[in-house]
């Protein structure tokens, strides 16, 4: 706080610019704090396996794709990558299809049990959800869903649904009811008013919340490790092989995990804040 405090204080120009300097260097420092570790991972990924295991490390990447090539031909790795994408894709679709209607209901209707319903949604967020994977492992064996990407996607959907409901709730709340009412007076039914007026407006936001669901599934480790054995996702595969795999494999795998996250957070950055603003109160 001190730097920000100084920057605002009505003081002599010299202290003022000193405060401004402190403030800016604080911002730069915090950006570096986030970016530099990722940069180190990048350097490791773009170095040959020999360099990764040697000492001392160069501070710049040598743009050698040996590590990534090793990653790609490592037995089971590409299947794991495919499983990760599949699971995340299914999670994305399911959480929106199931979650968005509820978000719409919360923003448009006053109904009995609404508070109870919101409480249930919030409760799911406040529980250590990956733990559910343990009993579900048994349940899935009974139903034949064990060790399938679909079964895992169901668990990841449980993780993503609270967010899907809350994001769509805040998105729908941002579209005035009058727009829909105008459509009704012009001869639309509830359904056509929704598809023709609300849906086009809401689509970018829905996409953002779908991407968020994708990231949640993509990143999840514990449930994935518990529920899959043959059809491991990338996170589960990396975790399982932590003790045995060489460094360059770990870092290349970590890098492959990070890249989609970087892109997706960039894509949804506008919506990250919308959901917490309304959902909090």
């Amino acid at each position: 706080m001190t730097d920000a405090t100084v920057a605002e204080a009505p003081a002599a120009p010299s202290t003022r610019s000193a405060g401004r300097f402190l403030y800016i260097s604080g911002v730069v420092l915090l950006c570096a704090w986030v970016l530099v570790p990722i940069y180190f991972l990048l350097v490791n990924t773009l170095s040959s396996p020999n360099t990764v295991n040697s000492f001392p490390k160069p501070l710049f990447p040598e743009f050698d794709f040996g590590s990534l090539a090793f990653f790609a031909q490592f037995a089971g790795m590409l299947t794991a990558l495919k499983n990760s994408v599949l699971t995340a894709g299914m999670t994305m679709i399911m959480s929106i299809l199931i979650g968005a209607p509820a978000g719409y209901a919360l923003s448009r209707f006053d109904f009995r049990g609404k508070e109870l319903f919101r409480l249930l949604i919030l409760l799911t967020r406040a529980f250590p959800l990956p733990l559910l994977a343990l009993p579900l492992a048994v349940m899935f064996i009974q139903t034949g869903l064990d060790d399938t990407t679909f079964g895992l996607a169901l668990v990841h959907t449980t993780l993503a649904i609270p967010f899907a409901v809350l994001i769509t709730f805040s998105l729908f709340s941002g579209i005035p009811l009058e727009l829909e009412e105008a459509a009704w007076t012009l001869g639309c039914t509830r359904l056509t008013a929704f598809t023709k007026v609300v849906l086009p407006l809401i689509l970018p936001g829905i996409t953002a919340s779908a991407i968020f669901a994708f990231v949640i599934s993509w990143n999840e480790v514990f449930a994935a490790a518990v529920l899959t054995i043959e059809n491991r996702t990338l996170t589960a595969f990396l975790l399982q092989n932590l003790d045995t795999s060489p460094l360059h494999l770990k870092f290349a795998g970590g890098f492959i995990l990070v890249v989609p996250a970087l892109i997706f957070i960039f894509a949804v950055r506008k919506y990250l804040f919308a959901m917490w603003g309304i959902a909090n109160r």
């Binding site: 209901a105 109904f111 009993p135 932590l242 960039f266």
Partner: protein, 281 residues
Amino acid sequence: MNARLLPYMLILPVTLFLCLFFLYPFVLVAKQAFTTGAGFTLDNFREVVSYWKFPISLKNTLLLAAAVVPIQLALSLLMATMVTRMEKGRDLVLYVWTIPLGISDLAAGLIWLAIFEQSGFLNSMMHGMGIVDKPANLLTFQNPGLVFVAIALAEIWRATAIMLVILVAGIGLIPKEYYEAAEVFGASPWKRFVRITLPMLRPSLQTALVLRVIMAFEVFAVVAALGGTLFPVLMGETYAYQFDLLNSGAAAAMALVILAISIAATLVILRALRVPKGATI
């Protein structure tokens, strides 16, 4: 369609889904924890608690949470206030600061492994500066303190973003008039922060802390990547019961222990930061 039934139709999918994949598994996990084949028993809990690793992993988990969460709270508050007074480059800085939000805990663990492993960047830089002449293995049982610091740093790096997002959204909801009024009466920036921002931010602080603390009790992949078995935590022990010891009853009991701690922490936070009755924002 009947307008009174419509909202219930809309929330039906989520409700069914959460009953099947959230409430029902909880019943199952409880049942599994309290039975060993023949009737009600506390044997699973007795077994879990009396295991020599339990006190250590409980201590480690709580200690990590106690060390990491306050730092993250301070850091995210600082970052949030820095961002709100920013005019130029606000979007870029926010994007950079929220990048770790999309990065999985496993990837975060690997990123920090790149820094702390024996041929890693920390050793390389110390070597470059002439502090050490040959790379020391930092993450071993001889350096329990350093293992803890590495894990704590990775946790702070990874999970401050989620608190930042919630707090930035919360600060955005505080009416600007309050600050203007305070400025008219000559309140210093620090005073404005303590007397307006902090109290008005209570709902967001609640959400942020509850989410973060629960995540802290679930810490798993970061520890697996950095500390391995050097730093046992509750979630890692749960995983070990399920997989290495093939004792799902004990794993279920561990899950309930983590759940109990999470609920207790949630209640404490909600109580400590409750908004006084009648106060509105």
